[in-house]
Symmetry: C2
Amino acid sequence: MIAVYGMAVSGNCWKAAQILRLTGHAFRWVETDGNTGATRTPAFLAINPNGKVPAVVLEDGAVITESNAILLHFAEGTSWLPAPGLARTRVMEWLFFEQYSHEPYIAVARNLRSYARTAAQFPERMAQCMERGAQALALMERRLATHDWLTDAGPSVADLSLFAYTHVADEGGFDLAAYPGVAAWVARLAAVPGVEGLRRAAG
Amino acid sequence: MIAVYGMAVSGNCWKAAQILRLTGHAFRWVETDGNTGATRTPAFLAINPNGKVPAVVLEDGAVITESNAILLHFAEGTSWLPAPGLARTRVMEWLFFEQYSHEPYIAVARNLRSYARTAAQFPERMAQCMERGAQALALMERRLATHDWLTDAGPSVADLSLFAYTHVADEGGFDLAAYPGVAAWVARLAAVPGVEGLRRAAG
């Protein structure tokens, strides 16, 4: 059976479980918490020398890392990834945007504020996260104010990838009420059968 | 004719020109320097509302952004991108690694040190770039110490993407002599017919 090494509160790890559920793959989850050193043990480094989760171990032992590469791997041949050409390229644009311009600010703000709880120690870092995170949400709003999904191909791995940290962006201090198109899209994707939201911080 | 809006010294912009050359597409280059405000003019924002280069304008007017999405778009159906399956997924892993774990440190160090020349003003930022950049190069070395290319599929867009800022990493203060597998790979890719290195800082 496929094994997913991941942290339950991580949006990047959520992507792996979510695409496996949506594409009908059974898997077991191996909770692996980077904050407690579990990604630095010899056993885990033998699985992923980069020491990062998520890491998906296939039945033949091959290991896939990088959350958006995992999304693409299991989406190939399904409705979650359009055929090659401009339709697929639109999905790719959003996936690289997510890792470069969205996750480093929106996921990091959430971690500093609600998990590591060190936002007060890093005010400049937090301020940068809020500024750049707002820019990322504004870019999404420009599309989602007038469209149901991030690309014209219908719900795709682009939507799953951006949903990961956007639907819990409030934990980083972002108010989605300021981005009504984004908020409506979050509700729309959450209503797709098989889509399950991420675990939230415990109070 | 295809138009590429980009900065000649940018590795991300280099990727667009390089894949077009390698796949036999004629194009014109429109020098667009973010440092002089050229990416913030109304004319450019009409092309890419995100205000970033590279932006590739196809003959029908469609615009493609995100450097690694541009690589993938033009590589589809060529030897630079293997068929779907684990071979392609290996390429995707490196492309997302490049944008998340390599470019933000190695490209930024180069800019601070050799172009913006503000490394002395931002010592903590520069120190982070050197630490994380070294980690990225060490990860590449682990593969390239014993293999010719980043994936088993032969030279691919993964190699082009990582080459962009690695072959000029010395401008950021990284010494590739410490990574002999990476240095040999840089020379190997530079020797592929059609591959041209990036313009360097003028002294």
